[in-house]
């Protein structure tokens, strides 16, 4: 199986002098394509820093991160933003939907960022929303939806441009158990494809069963990586 992401001795610290905090202390991790990998560990262990670096939103102090063959450290700054827009899809804990936009408009944003025409972007977003069971809520605003429905819109937004890597940060933290399970099932169903990968940061043990592999982090490094048989597979 090919590798989607490789991290080699990734180090990242914040602050300086006595106040310097090392968030990543030499992380080495492989994320395989076609799989869902969960990053788990206690708060402050560096999970968010690691996915920020993998998603090209943070530059490590040292070490290398390669995403689908592209070494992020060697990538010119101006290309990083375009790379992120075209290659990575995001699902956030707080959804981060734009409250003034309808569900379709929210879901179509990544395609609009990529410069696709509004009609095409909306058509693709509509298809995804329909598959996610939100057909009748397409033209509603986020505030008119439940938390579970908002997270499904966020999943549609993360997948609308068919990214090779989907990064999710605590996607079920704001949802009840049923909605959390449903969101993860949808994510697995729609995002896991050959040549694509999903990385999920979570504390929620109830969703461990959706993972192919679970990387346990502690104190800025990967402690163990366990292979699982994905229940949803």
């Amino acid at each position: 199986m090919s590798l989607a992401v490789t991290c080699r001795d990734v180090v990242k610290g914040f602050g300086s002098g006595d106040a310097r905090v090392m968030a990543l202390r030499g992380v080495t991790l492989d994320v395989r394509a076609g799989e869902m990998t969960l990053l788990v560990g206690p708060s402050g262990c560096g999970k968010t820093t690691l996915i920020s670096a993998i998603a090209a939103m943070l530059t490590p102090d040292s070490g290398d991160i390669t995403v689908f063959g592209e070494n992020l450290r060697k990538m010119p700054r101006r290309k990083v933003t375009a790379f992120r827009g075209g290659t990575v899809g995001f699902v956030f804990q707080q959804y981060n939907l734009l409250p003034a936009l309808t569900c379709v408009e929210n879901a179509s944003i990544p395609l609009r960022v990529l410069g696709r025409p509004a009609g095409e972007a909306n058509r693709r977003a509509t298809e995804l929303l329909d598959r996610l069971g939100l057909a009748e809520h397409r033209h509603r605003f986020p505030a008119e939806l439940s938390g579970g429905q908002q997270q499904r819109v966020a999943i549609a937004r993360a997948l609308v441009h068919d990214p090779r890597l989907v990064v999710c940060d605590e996607p079920t933290a704001s949802l009840d158990a049923a909605n959390g399970q449903a969101a993860m099932a949808l994510l697995r169903e729609l995002a896991i494809k050959p040549g694509r990968a999903v990385i999920v940061v979570t504390h929620d043990e109830r969703i461990f069963r959706f993972a192919d592999r679970i990387a346990h982090m502690a104190d800025g490094h990967i402690e163990t990586v366990s292979d699982l048989e994905a229940a949803a597979a």
Partner: protein, 380 residues
């Protein structure tokens, strides 16, 4: 993505209206005060502007502006007439006098004595009566606003009598004179009658009004008059500007209006800046999400600038519209603000000022968006 920016802006109605009202308030303050200032300064030289037939004003060499009147000798008039390039020259008498109506109402009037024969110096717009009636005994013309001031609530009518420094005067014409800076009532009378209204010294010739011969410029003829007579001769345009300049330099009016305008600009920057900053702060995660999803700093800057431009345009339009309504309705004659208007260049200048207000107000917010770490979206 422009639609996204606009929907973000319009989506938060309270802030959007706050931003627009901030810009509109600043625009209104700057344009309204700017127009009032220009109107007031123009008023200082309204007498010069009203006498359109004369393009040259001749006066005492020491005269600094239209209200420093030191009478010339009567012989100066034919001397001016004798200068080559002068088409014609007529006398003008200018003074102020107390007026009293028969029912005891008193006020102060600007009295202008115009050429007996030609009546050059009389306002062109006569609302009631005929100019030639000024040749009748005791006849005077009064401006509409002056009439209303002396007889408030009464219909304009000819034949009313008043006392001008204890001399009987009969109104035979009502004019539409431009408002003067220092008087509420403007009275015109033939020169020889006007000088009898007030005790005068030996000389009564306040100004000589002249016209350059066809093909000659007013400025060059004025120079010739100065050279030959030793008097101060200026083109009407130059004299007008000299008078306005005197008031600009010697009164607190520019400072007073200037402070209000500067205050308007600062209030605009403060209100728009703070509101926009709050708007950005409350939407910072949305900006962060857009950045995370691959929106470049350049395009993000474009979105923020578009939001600012819309706020600026709508606010400017609203402020300018209110200012225009003010000038349209509040300055109708014979009201106290008659003649005040909103010159196009004040509106254009304020467009630049508004642009600067919006840009300055947005600067801090824009910086906040540009330095925004997209990883903010991962923080709970």
């Amino acid at each position: 993505m422009a639609v996204v920016a606009l929907r973000m802006l319009f989506g938060d109605r309270a802030k959007y209206f706050g931003l627009v009202l901030g810009v509109a308030f600043a625009t209104l303050l700057v344009t309204q005060q700017g127009g009032m200032f220009v109107g007031l300064m123009t008023r200082t030289a309204s007498v010069i502007a009203d006498i359109q037939e004369a393009d040259i004003w001749v006066m005492d060499p020491q005269a600094k502006y239209i209200d420093t009147v030191r009478a010339l000798r009567a012989t100066e008039l034919p001397r001016v007439r004798g200068v080559e390039g002068v088409a014609w020259a007529v006398p003008l008498f200018k003074t102020s006098a107390p007026v009293k109506t028969l029912d005891g109402r008193i006020d102060n009037a600007l009295v202008l004595g115009v050429d007996d024969a030609s009546l050059i110096g009389l306002p062109r717009q006569i609302l009631l009566g005929r100019p030639e009636d000024l040749w009748r005994p005791d006849a005077i013309a009064i401006d509409q606003a002056g009439f209303i001031r002396l007889w408030p609530g009464e219909k304009l009518q000819l034949g009313r009598e008043l006392e001008l420094n204890d001399h009987r005067a009969v109104i035979v014409a009502i004019t539409q004179a431009s408002a003067a800076f220092s008087a509420n009532i403007i009275i015109h009378a033939p020169f020889t009658r006007a000088v009898t209204f007030l005790p005068q010294g030996r000389d009564t010739l306040s100004f000589v009004l002249a016209r350059a011969a066809p093909g000659r410029s007013a400025a060059s003829v004025a120079q010739a008059i100065s050279r030959q007579t030793g008097l101060q001769a200026l083109s009407a345009a130059d004299f007008r500007w000299k008078t306005i300049s005197f008031y600009l330099a010697n009164t607190g009016i520019p400072i007073s209006f200037g402070l209000v305008i500067v205050l308007g600009v600062f209030v605009g920057i403060a209100v728009v800046g703070l509101t926009f900053n709050t708007f950005v702060a409350e939407n910072i995660r949305q900006y962060g999400a857009l950045k995370a999803m691959g929106l470049s700093d350049l395009r993000l800057t474009g979105l923020v600038l578009l939001q600012g431009a819309v706020v600026g345009l709508v606010g400017y339009g609203l402020g300018l519209g209110i200012a225009a309504l003010f000038f349209n309705f509040a300055t109708q004659p014979p009201g106290a603000l008659r003649g005040f208007n909103l010159p196009w260049w004040i509106a254009a200048g304020d467009a630049v000022v508004t642009g600067l207000i919006v840009l300055l107000a947005m600067f801090a917010s824009l910086r906040r968006v540009l330095v925004l770490d997209p990883a903010i979206v991962f923080r709970g």
